[in-house]
């Protein structure tokens, strides 16, 4: 009996992906409490409290300038490098406060990887891009296997296996971004942060990155900042909506967390009017 492809119903991705567990069964990775982050005197985000869960994809959406990137760059202490940056509150990561004075940001980043907005491969060979972190961090046993495994998981192996020694800069933008994902997961982090990973990519490359996240979330927890609401709806289990506060007495505005819930609820039945306006395209 031949399958009639024309009339066969197409399953939506959400139906294939593992269902979102009930709230009480979600295991927290981050427990963020009243996080306020400042550049100089101005607070980029204020009083953000939320839990981020293991093996889920959590999207952070919101209009430009609402502190989405600042927020996720707090999670791996990437903002430490910016002069004048300061964070208050708590970011409990498996019960350790990442903002604590005795926490080593290098050790934090070792466990919490990051993929950036623009692909940023090293000007080295494809192989060395993935192997660099492994070598430096002392994961030198069966290096070839680890590199191959990471490239396979990033769905890049078939395209590059014949030219591992050629420069990473010769790859297309989408391939470079998948290489950056391979580089990030090769060192076996616990969490992967993605800061608008597809904003510089075409739709096909974007969809391959989204598929990857569905595939990889069994082993990692993802936090993704995105400008693109469809993307959040497609990839995320949970969605947080950030927006700008009303101006304070000095006229400054800060990024605040408006609403955080299961993605489906956020896009179909948000409880906050501002979320509804944003997801329906009336604002932002």
């Amino acid at each position: 009996m031949p399958v009639d492809y024309a009339t066969r119903p197409v399953e939506p991705l959400a139906a294939i992906a593992p269902a979102l567990p009930e709230p009480e069964r979600r295991e927290p990775v981050f427990d963020i409490r009243r996080l306020t982050a400042r550049y100089g005197a101005n607070a980029a985000i204020r009083d953000v409290s939320m839990e981020i869960h293991k093996n889920l994809v959590t999207a952070v959406i919101g209009p430009s300038g609402c502190g989405k990137s600042t927020f996720i760059r707090c999670l791996n202490r990437m903002n430490d490098l910016i002069p004048g940056f300061d964070a208050e509150g708590e970011i409990l990561y498996h019960d350790v406060d990442l903002l604590g004075g005795d926490v080593d940001p290098v050790a934090v980043r070792r466990r919490i990887g990051m993929v950036f907005q623009r692909p940023n491969p090293f000007p080295k060979s494809i192989y060395d891009n993935v192997a660099f972190g492994l070598r430096v961090l002392g994961m030198k046993d069966s290096l070839d296997d680890r590199v191959e495994h990471a490239l396979k998981r990033a769905a890049l192996w078939d395209e590059v296996s014949k030219r591992l020694r050629s420069s990473a800069l010769s790859l297309s933008g989408g391939q470079q971004q998948r290489l950056c994902i391979a580089r990030a997961i090769a060192v076996e982090p616990d969490v992967v942060l993605l800061d608008e990973p597809a904003s510089a990519l075409d739709p096909i490359a974007t969809s391959s990155i989204e598929d990857l996240m569905h595939e990889l979330k069994r082993d990692y927890s993802f936090v993704i900042v995105t400008h693109n609401m469809q993307q959040a709806a497609r990839v995320a289990d949970m969605t947080a909506f950030f927006s700008l506060s009303q101006p304070d007495e000095r006229g400054d505005r800060s990024g605040i967390l408006i609403e955080y819930d299961a993605t489906q609820k956020m896009f179909t039945a948000p409880s906050d009017k501002r979320t509804e306006d944003y997801v329906t395209g009336r604002f932002g």
């Binding site: 791996n76 990437m78 290098v106 090293f122 000007p123 660099f132 990030a184």
Partner: protein
């Protein structure tokens, strides 16, 4: 449509300005060309194998073929040691300047380097004379020290300019993997900068190889023997040119011209190599594509 035409006056002004600029550029090149040709005309005749392999005869009136091997060896030793001194200091200064220093401190260091770069060579010479030579006597090491002072700002600035070309996103990529800051600097940033460091060092070598004033104070009291021990004063090419040009013997004048020719040729070669290396490292960084 007559009003759309370029007015004659403006066309003439354009033409005149362009002509003046072209003439200035040609004049600059012509100075070099005339200098090279005149030096070559007077010196080329004295250049042969002996010129590079033999040292001057202690009695210059004895008519045997002689050369300036001692000066070439001396310059190589002095400049070589100067490079070994200046390279690490220059590169580390640049790393601190570009990677670690706060903005205000970076500004002050950059300013200090520029001032150091502008200090006349003779001032550096007399400084090293007072600091090292007084009490210890002249030596090639003292000469190297003086030349190293001249090289540091050149190497540091050239390195710093290349470091600034390394995109911040590459550093972030490494840091985000949990790689420490110094390891990132060493393995990712510096690795991309090697071309620029080599270029800067080559230019610095070319620059100081012809310096005379610092060596006058530090490594000038020399005989004609071929020596390479840096603890003694060693002969050098620029000082030989100086010395021979004052000699009454026309044969010495020819030797001086020949040494000048070799020096110019070396500097032109080094600069060309440095340019080529710079272009190559920029290509590698993906800056010109």
């Amino acid at each position: 449509m007559n009003e759309m035409k370029t007015p004659l006056r403006r066309r003439l002004v354009n033409l005149a300005m362009q002509a003046v600029a072209v003439a200035a550029a040609f004049a600059a090149v012509a100075v070099l060309a005339i200098m090279v040709v005149s030096v070559a005309k007077r010196g080329a005749g004295a250049i042969n194998l002996d010129f590079f392999t033999k040292s001057p005869h202690p009695f210059s009136f004895v008519p045997v073929p002689t050369g300036l091997a001692n000066a070439f060896v001396g310059t190589a030793v002095i400049v070589g040691i100067a490079t070994l001194m200046a390279l690490p200091i220059g590169v580390l200064t640049a790393i601190y300047l570009n990677e670690f220093a706060r903005r205000r401190i970076a500004f002050l260091i950059a300013l200090a380097l520029d001032v150091l770069n502008g200090v006349p060579a003779i001032v550096v010479g007399i400084f090293v004379f007072a600091l090292v030579v007084t009490g210890h006597g002249q030596s090639a090491l003292a000469g190297s020290f003086a030349l190293a002072i001249l090289m540091i700002p050149l190497i540091a600035r050239a390195t710093q300019e290349t470091l600034a070309l390394v995109p911040g996103s590459t550093r972030e990529a490494s840091l985000a993997l949990g790689v420490s800051r110094w390891r990132t600097t060493l393995s990712i940033v510096l690795q991309q900068t090697i071309g620029g460091i080599v270029t800067g060092t080559t230019l610095a070598v070319a620059r100081v190889a012809g310096e005379t004033a610092p060596l006058l104070f530090t490594s000038s009291l020399v005989g004609d023997q071929l020596r390479a021990d840096p603890r003694q004063a060693l002969a050098s090419v620029p000082l030989k040119i100086f010395e021979y040009s004052e000699s009454p013997d026309p044969a010495d004048h020819r030797q001086a011209w020949a040494a000048a020719l070799v020096l110019i040729a070396f500097i032109m070669l080094a600069s060309t190599v440095a340019r080529a290396l710079a272009a190559r490292s920029r290509r590698k960084l993906g800056l010109t594509r």
